[in-house]
Symmetry: C2
Subunit: 334 residues, 2 copies
């Protein structure tokens, strides 16, 4: 079984190591030949996953055609804003036998499409799936018990992918609600920025728990209006991923919120950050989606006004936490 | 407006300070005259809430009759296993004009009753409510933004209580599903012990997020079979309180799990702990409830076997995280 992982960031590298440990023939592709050469020499992904050695048996290459040839599975571990660009490069390759699996968490700006929609539009693969859930690369790489969800409209494809990934410390569930699974992974990054703001302001577990409880409510609200099942958001790819992202020191989105609350400007953060914080771009997409669908999303709106309208974080948190008083009804909470 | 808070633990003290800051005449009652005298002298609750000064305007007393006389509101901030005993002492008092508010989170052993049921059985007050949600006393006392839920079968009583408590940094929602609100607060302590076990074993955010996602599923399962609305568990008193308890360094239930995973015995922990970890007793009650109602609760069952059957924590976590593989369907997650 040959597997290609496209994207030599932290998550791509962790997945390559995980799948290699199951004995597959694993190829890791990076877009930048210089960094690929560096990885081949050092056998450590010093930029994105410095703590773990990359086994010699993993072939690291920037030759896309060679890497994807005759694969059972192609994993797209690529930031969402360059997903379309990379997928386009697959057009000339023979990938008709491969399952295409997106592990990116984001929504494309402007088109507001989910990653599986972007992939389908570009190459329309016969077998397409996504993998999501609480799975920080650093923890997966050091074999911390992790549970994720694989989703595909085609249950068979989901089960095949589940079987490929399942490992002693990496549990894979299946779910056929691909809309809900993808939206959970994308929307949660925006709430994570809000949670980081709360941390940066010195607030505590009470505040964070309140933000997450109300955050999942607005995620469900948008998700349902886009055709997702509400129950999906109560699972691993929804509240699960939201919790992990909001409590992990590794979460880049949470960090962005924390830095902004401590007075850094967004431009400065973007300049200094080596890794992509998907939530920054997703905040824009969600705001557009919420506006066009007329869905109330006070937390996401608050994050938007902090990031893009220079509104002081404390006043946004006050708006969210303090001014709004309502009954908490089952109806409101779905 | 005169208010009595029965129970001079951390939560009772924090509530007394919060309500005093709104200008009410506040009485704090403690069962032990020696400790009440100590509190009156030191004006600090050194055992249970050492960081905050108790304002002179709060009357601290162990004279129950005097304290509850002519009150608008009586707050029962008492550990659940002594709730019945204290409520019985109210029988001889004139409290017909008072709202009785339970802020305890637990289920009575043997009878398996919720706190509002225990109170109703003993004194059947005309106006009864509960307050729950993510609200660590230490954070409320230092004015960290906090949001909670007040629930009563009588909406008017809930709204009156909401108005009494509402403050700039203490937001109160109402919810009429008292069964769901009380169960959320009690059941979450058992999952928190599991989360502590995960911490004690050195696992990470991925593991904790998976435990919480699956934990709320089994909380909902039991709750629904007891007449609660599933949506209540997705709110502040359910997933909200669960998150706060599982991430806070202050959570005693989480701490118990962590200590056990590091090799301490339950007896030893109980001897050394000044404060009550409700979850230890609740684990027993929930196990009995789950058995009698035939509800599947693998996490609570795992915690029971760690606490009361001396099963090694690692093997329980492995059972939970590693052996069970299923589709994650909207139906399962309800």
């Amino acid at each position: 079984v040959k597997i290609a992982i496209l994207g030599d960031g932290g998550w791509g590298t962790a997945i390559a190591i995980l799948l290699r440990s199951k004995g597959y023939e694993v190829f890791l592709w990076g877009a930048f030949p210089d960094y690929v050469e560096f990885l081949n020499k050092k056998r450590k992904n010093l930029k994105f996953l410095p703590s773990v050695k990359i086994p010699e048996e993993i072939t690291i290459s920037s030759d896309l055609k060679k890497v994807v040839k005759d694969t059972t599975l192609i994993v797209l571990a690529i930031p969402s804003h360059v997903m379309r660009e990379v997928v386009r490069q697959l057009k000339g390759c023979d990938i008709s036998q491969s399952i295409i699996l997106s592990v990116a968490k984001g929504i494309e700006n402007k088109t507001l499409m989910r990653m599986s929609e972007v992939i389908a539009e570009e190459i329309n693969p016969p077998r397409l799936a996504v993998l999501s859930g609480p799975s920080h690369a650093e923890e997966v790489a050091r074999q911390v018990p992790t549970a994720v969800v694989v989703s595909s409209p085609d249950r068979e494809v989901a089960i095949q992918t589940q079987n490929i990934f399942m490992a002693e410390r990496f549990r894979v569930y299946t779910n056929t609600d691909i809309i809900g699974v993808e939206l959970g992974g994308a929307l949660k990054n925006v709430v994570a920025i809000a949670a980081g703001v709360s941390d940066g302001l010195g607030f505590g577990a009470n505040t964070k728990a309140a933000l997450l409880s109300r955050g999942i409510v607005e995620m469900i609200r948008l998700g349902v209006s886009l055709g997702a099942r509400p129950g999906t958001f109560n699972g691993l790819s929804g509240i699960g991923d939201l919790i992990a992202t909001c409590i992990s020191p590794y979460s880049r989105n949470r960090q962005v919120g924390e830095l902004i609350a401590r007075g850094k400007k967004l431009n400065q953060i973007l300049e200094e950050m080596e890794m992509v914080a998907e939530g920054i771009k997703t905040t824009r997409s969600i705001r557009d989606l919420a506006l066009s669908l007329n869905v109330e999303m006070p937390i996401s709106k608050g994050v938007y006004s902090i990031l893009y309208e220079d509104k002081p974080p404390l006043s946004v948190v006050n708006d969210l936490m303090i001014r709004k008083a309502k009954p908490e009804s089952g109806e409101n909470l779905k």
